[in-house]
Symmetry: C2
Subunit: 110 residues, 2 copies
């Protein structure tokens, strides 16, 4: 037997979770929402709508867009998003560890 769980932050709907965290992590690395979406087998338009929806629910911007220029533009994670990602990452690591511990405590041997 194993434990399965899903969790997310809610503010008038899903406002942040593992999927958005992973998407933003990839934007951080690639400086591109296009690339990040591609790596997650998500269409660019879906990724873009997701970001817009989360921003509305969270009440702050997650991405800064740099349009054009020599580099051809790109996306950058905002400081607010970066802070949320750090908090979320710490929270997720601790919840994962804790839930495994509680599962083993209560269901060891099952």
């Amino acid at each position: 037997m194993k434990l399965v769980y899903k969790l997310w932050l809610d503010q008038n709907g899903k406002a942040f979770g593992d999927g958005p965290y992973e998407l933003l992590k990839r934007v951080e690395k690639t400086h591109s929402l296009h690339q990040a979406a591609l790596q997650m087998s998500m269409s660019y338009s879906k990724a873009w709508r997701l970001i817009r929806t989360l921003e509305k629910r969270l009440g702050f911007a997650l991405l800064e867009r740099r349009i054009g220029g020599v580099s051809g533009g790109g996306s950058k994670v905002t400081p607010d998003a970066n802070q949320l990602m750090k908090q979320y990452s710490r929270f997720r690591k601790e919840t994962e560890k804790t839930l495994i511990k509680l599962f083993l405590k209560h269901f060891r041997g099952r």
Copy 2:
């Protein structure tokens, strides 16, 4: 902002969770899967299929059926099911408390 989560025990698919726990609790009180299903606005056939599926995945019976007799039969939770329910209930209380604590620790003020 608030935390939302779902969790369940898995063994070749969903094997136990809040819904089954509540259904069995109601069988315990009413001695009837019919009544238990009714109270949860679930059709009897759906409740019956659910119990069968869980039993297959868990590898033990959850309900004893008493057919006919003066009382008109009824359902009784097995000792195995009773033990699982107790474990699950303790596990759920502790996970709920712990997840709220972790959420407040990491996201207080958000």
